[in-house]
């Protein structure tokens, strides 16, 4: 039988010590946790803000809540974003904190009135990790595992572009310029780029290149286009000598099926002096430049004699659309002799060889060279920019740039370039120096300035992978193609009106006046006369309308069409029965408002705006009145001031201007007959 022996129910001392120690440790840990929470960075920042608030006049915060305390979150479920930046950036919405020390300073500029934080948050524009509540984790600096740390301010326009998809978004000039460069340099020919659908860029078609160019020139060009033409859009494809030889052979074998038109031309009697006169009269420099001066729509002609063959040039000037079907150049009405003189002049004047002698016509019969050249042509994707009937269209040779801004920067090669591995840096290097990235590249070197490459990078860095909700996106309006039919259509095609003018946003922008309402702006007879002999309405423009040498019937057709079709009804209802008192009042106003400062009248006046002596036979009164009343409504960036004219004053000025240049002008002004 066991007796319950007395067992000590006391524990060894070390256990009690351990108990006390662990208990105290637990208490200490709890205190540490409390401290850890209580001294969180955002809490101390808010405490600092409360002290600052006391010293700022009329802060909005004070009017609203008793104290600033607690996390502040902007939740945007449409955008899938949660931004807590305002937890520390407490003064961002409140102009009372302008100039305060960071992070409390109010947002600079007027950005928050168009992009209120409640609807946009912060990270849409600035990137960074919006969910964080401290400086480091918010990725103000690049941070591990944060794919998009905060953007340096100089690249912030890239984020404007994710919503503003138009080609010229407001208040983002570098982005707009980048997008313009993407079109102008032909990136869209080789790459499928979201946001640039429907736009085309083409170099000249090469079907007649064998007839067109001198072989020596072709080799120089293929080696480095900019050595012939510094502002060439074609990049340097870094071709080897063998590749150039092959391409030369291939291209020179591309010749027109039908013979050129230059048989039977009497070249010995070419009159280059006449050619020079024609050159001036036809106003070629409106589209072509010589020594850097002139238009940029067509190629520079400074050394055209080194480039083209004589027979080809003759045929081209005679009928450009047959020789090179997609050319923007118009077809003048010239006789064969005039064409001969012009051709001879161009070749003699604009060549470095000087003697204008015609090298023997070389034909390339080496089939191996031709096929090697064809392989190079296809491999380097020349057909992306240059159409060639002999090559079937294989689509764009470059990779699609969809979602390029969201690709993993560590996937890409940086070659020997010592840069931080970011998407922006990769795009910049690729655009600027495509062959330095450590692997062979088909992309040509465009010889861009770093500034231009940066702008293109901004435009590309705005192309994101996922799409935004429609309520946030401002799309690029797609201009509808304009292709008139009938007689008018033929004339438009022949004279290539749309190379310089636009209708409904479609066409060229060399002329800053769209033709959509031209029939309500210009008088019919003036239009017809003008087309036969485009005079200078403005003194100081470089680009002038060429002298087409149109037939009078053609000019009248065009004027008729304008007056019937390109109308704006709001301008055509104007009462044109002006009284002499209105006309006199208009004349007074003309003096009072100082119109003379910018406009010429007779022999006096300034050169900023068009001359006004012929306004009465040139412009329609309805247009004059509308323009004077609100010029910016028709042309937002015009220099014409908005005088805030009353309709009576506008009418008076219109009356006066409508009296100028008419044979009955004095009578209209109510003066005694001279």
């Amino acid at each position: 039988m066991g007796v319950a022996v007395e067992i000590k129910n006391t524990a060894p001392p070390r256990l009690h010590l351990a108990f006390a120690g662990l208990g105290l440790a637990l208490l200490a840990i709890f205190s540490w946790m409390l401290l850890h929470e209580g001294t969180a960075e955002w809490r101390t920042t808010q405490a600092r803000f409360r002290r600052l608030e006391a010293t700022v006049k009329n802060p909005y915060q004070l009017a609203q809540s008793a104290t600033v305390a607690g996390l502040r979150q902007i939740w945007l479920p449409d955008l899938g974003r949660v931004d807590r930046c305002r937890t520390c950036h407490l003064g961002i919405d409140d102009p009372a904190f302008t100039g305060a020390s960071p992070p409390f300073a109010a947002h600079p500029g007027a950005w928050l009135s168009t992009h209120p934080t409640d609807r946009f948050g912060c990270t849409v524009c600035h990137d960074g990790q919006g969910q964080a509540t401290d400086y480091v984790n918010a990725a103000h600096q690049p941070q591990p595992f944060v794919p998009r740390p905060m953007r340096p301010l100089e690249t912030i326009e890239a984020n404007c572009g994710t919503c503003h998809r138009a080609l010229d978004p407001p208040a983002a000039p570098r982005l707009a310029e980048g997008r313009r460069l993407i079109i102008a340099l032909g990136c869209i020919s080789c790459h499928d780029i979201p946001g640039f659908e429907g736009l085309t860029f083409r170099g000249p078609a090469l079907d007649s290149i064998g007839n067109k160019v001198r072989p020596g020139w072709l080799a120089v060009w293929l080696k480095d286009p900019k050595s012939y033409l510094p502002q060439s859009k074609m990049g340097n494809f870094r071709l080897s000598t063998d590749e150039i030889a092959g391409l030369q052979g291939f291209l020179l074998s591309q010749r027109l099926q039908e013979p050129l038109d230059s048989t039977g031309v009497d070249w010995k009697n070419a009159d280059t002096a006449n050619g020079r006169a024609l050159f001036g009269e036809l106003r070629c420099v409106s589209c072509h430049s010589i020594n850097g001066r002139g238009g940029t729509m067509g190629p520079e002609l400074t050394r055209i004699g080194d480039k083209v063959a004589r027979d080809w040039l003759f045929s081209y000037l005679k009928d450009p659309h047959r020789v090179q079907p997609d050319t923007p150049m118009l077809q003048y009405r010239l006789t064969d002799n005039q064409l001969r003189d012009l051709t001879a002049y161009l070749l003699e004047e604009y060549s470095s060889a000087g003697d204008g002698s015609e090298p023997p016509s070389a034909t390339y019969q080496d089939a191996r060279l031709v096929s090697a050249g064809r392989a190079v042509f296809e491999r380097r994707g020349c057909q992306s920019c240059h159409r060639l009937a002999a090559i079937k269209d294989a689509g764009r040779i470059g990779p699609s740039l969809a979602g390029v801004a969201d690709r993993d920067p560590n996937e890409w090669p940086y070659g020997s370039n010592v840069v931080r591995h970011t998407t922006d840096n990769y795009i910049f290097l690729k655009v600027l120096l495509p062959d330095t990235l450590g692997q062979p590249s088909l992309m040509p070197t465009f010889g861009l300035t770093p500034a231009d490459a940066a702008k293109i990078t901004l435009a590309l860095a705005s192309i994101r992978k996922s799409d935004l909700p429609a309520s946030y996106v401002l799309r690029r309006p797609a201009p509808a193609p304009y292709q008139p039919a009938g007689t008018f259509g033929e004339l438009v095609t022949r004279y290539r009106c749309l190379s310089c003018h636009s209708v409904g946003g479609f066409g060229g922008d060399l002329s800053t006046v769209p033709l959509d309402r031209i029939g309500s702006q210009l008088q019919h007879d003036y239009t017809a006369k003008y087309l036969l002999n485009p005079g200078a309405v403005r003194v100081n423009v470089e680009a002038r309308m060429p002298v087409f040498r149109m037939l009078p019937d053609e000019a009248k057709s065009i004027a008729d069409y304008f007056s019937a079709v390109f109308l704006d009804d709001s301008l055509d209802q104007y009462d044109t029965n002006f009284t002499p008192s209105e006309t006199r009042r208009g004349q007074e106003l003309y003096e009072q408002l100082g119109c003379r400062a910018c406009h010429q009248l007779g022999t006096q006046g300034g050169y900023v705006g068009p001359e006004l002596s012929t306004t009465g036979v040139r412009l329609k009164p309805g247009w004059i009145a509308a323009w004077l009343s609100k010029p910016q409504a028709y042309k937002p960036d015009t220099l014409q001031p908005d005088y805030g004219l009353s309709s009576a004053d506008a009418r008076a000025l219109t009356a006066y201007l409508s009296s100028l240049g008419r044979s009955d002008a004095a009578q209209a002004r109510g003066e005694n007959a001279p």
Binding site: G2, V5, I7, N9, F19, I29, V82, F145
Partner: protein, 417 residues
């Protein structure tokens, strides 16, 4: 009831207290015994234990620590469930919320993760301890089997939880893990399809893993842990100071003790008794055993807190199925397997783990010699222990290699470079 006199107030309160806990704070020995056996939670323990049971080197309290970790994981996990959203990409966003805007969120998340890793390690070490003390010998064979099942459950819980943050680390670790499993012959692909809820890791996968992690596997764990502890009570602890001879045990005779405990006298007596042969060796579980268990729990909790406050659990960028990190590594406890898979997919990924698990399960039914049970590294069991230790060392070595010595493309790297 008259509430005006303080005495009756105290008596009333005492009555309320007594209705809840039927035995008050024990002062007598009888109370101490009663306190243990009349409490729902405490009657896991016997009323009295051998003094030798209290030695830390007895079992190093590994099983207890594993249980404490499970408790910590349950509590922290429950708390985390209030904020975590099991739908990608909200899952990642809710992880960031826990990190930034939930009070004590960082600590709780860290604690959950580090306890999980600790539990896998502790359970493994516990298994080694049980083997090295031969505590799987009869009558404890089935408990060992339950223990192996618990090991697999622990790994399953850790694996399912690994996916929940939905970051690159989680996504690709689970990709690797499920792909290793898919190599099982015949059923592999089907298993993977069921696990993933489809062909790819996506929202359905996350939901399945979430339910497995929070409901199914914990319930299974609770069930098996209860069974495991029940068997410990019934089979007794193997390492008592002196043991009854087999004949004595069969006879149910306990020469030194004639104590009965009511109904317990009728039930099958434990063989190697928890109760000591010599009453002088006995101590009451309350307070001796409980006090030590409390200290172990405190120590574990303090250690977990320190680790959770110092070391941040990882959270990489959000899972991106189109971008694979190089190298893509399974969770650390599967890296030994991944290293083996590197040499041979079938052998390393399927055969070896299957053989290992099967071997573990049948060990107690193969090695039934009771000699050497209850002692650390008993000389009788030298060969058995050596084989086991070698295999363990190999597995641990492979895991270390996979963790530290493998870099991009699974190429060998020196970790200090």
């Amino acid at each position: 009831m008259n509430q005006s006199t303080p005495g009756s107030m105290a008596a009333w309160l005492d009555g309320v207290r007594r209705s809840v806990s039927r035995v008050g704070w024990p002062v007598t020995d009888k109370d101490r015994a009663a306190a243990m056996i009349s409490s729902l939670f405490l009657h896991i323990h016997p009323a009295r234990v051998s003094r030798h049971v209290l030695k830390p080197t007895y079992t190093f309290a590994l099983g207890l620590i594993a249980g404490i970790l499970f408790l910590v994981l349950s509590v922290t996990g429950l708390a985390l469930m209030l904020y975590y959203v099991p739908y990608p990409p909200e899952a990642y966003r809710s992880m960031k919320d826990l990190q930034f805007v939930v009070t004590f969120g960082i600590v709780l998340r860290n604690m959950h993760r580090w306890s999980a890793h600790a539990m896998v390690a502790i359970v493994f070490v516990h298994m080694c301890r049980v083997f090295w003390t031969g505590s799987y010998k009869p009558p404890r064979e089935f408990n060992w089997v339950v223990g192996v099942l618990l090991l697999l459950l622990t790994l399953g819980l850790s694996f399912t939880g690994y996916l929940l943050p939905w970051d690159q680390l989680a996504f690709w670790a689970i990709t690797v893990g499920t792909n290793i499993a898919a190599h099982a012959p015949v059923v592999g692909e089907q298993m993977k399809f069921l696990l993933l809820g489809g062909h790819v890791i996506g929202p359905m996968t996350l939901l399945r893993f979430y339910v497995l992690h929070c409901v199914i596997l914990p319930l299974a764990m609770l069930l098996l842990v209860s069974l495991h502890v029940w068997r410990v009570r019934k089979d007794g602890l193997s390492g008592a100071a002196t043991q009854a001879s087999p004949e004595e045990e069969v006879a149910g005779v306990f020469p030194a003790s004639t104590k009965t405990y009511g109904l317990m006298a009728l039930s099958k007596r434990p063989r190697a008794s928890v109760e000591a042969r010599d009453p002088n060796d006995e101590v009451f579980a309350w307070p001796h055993l409980l006090y030590r268990e409390l200290l172990v729990a405190l120590a574990v909790i303090v250690a977990l807190h320190v680790v959770s406050l110092v070391f941040m659990a990882p959270l990489e960028e959000m899972a991106d199925p189109t971008r694979t990190p190089n190298p893509a590594k399974a969770p650390w406890y599967f890296l030994g397997l991944q290293e083996l898979v590197h040499y041979s997919t079938l052998v390393g990924g399927v055969i070896v783990p299957a053989v290992l698990v099967l071997a573990l399960l049948i060990i107690p039914y193969v090695d039934r010699d009771p000699k050497g049970s209850g002692r650390w590294f008993a000389p009788e069991r030298r060969i058995t222990n050596s084989i086991f230790t070698a295999l363990v060392a190999l597995f641990v070595g492979l895991t270390i290699v996979g963790t530290l010595f493998r870099g991009a493309n699974w190429a060998w790297v020196w970790p200090w470079r």
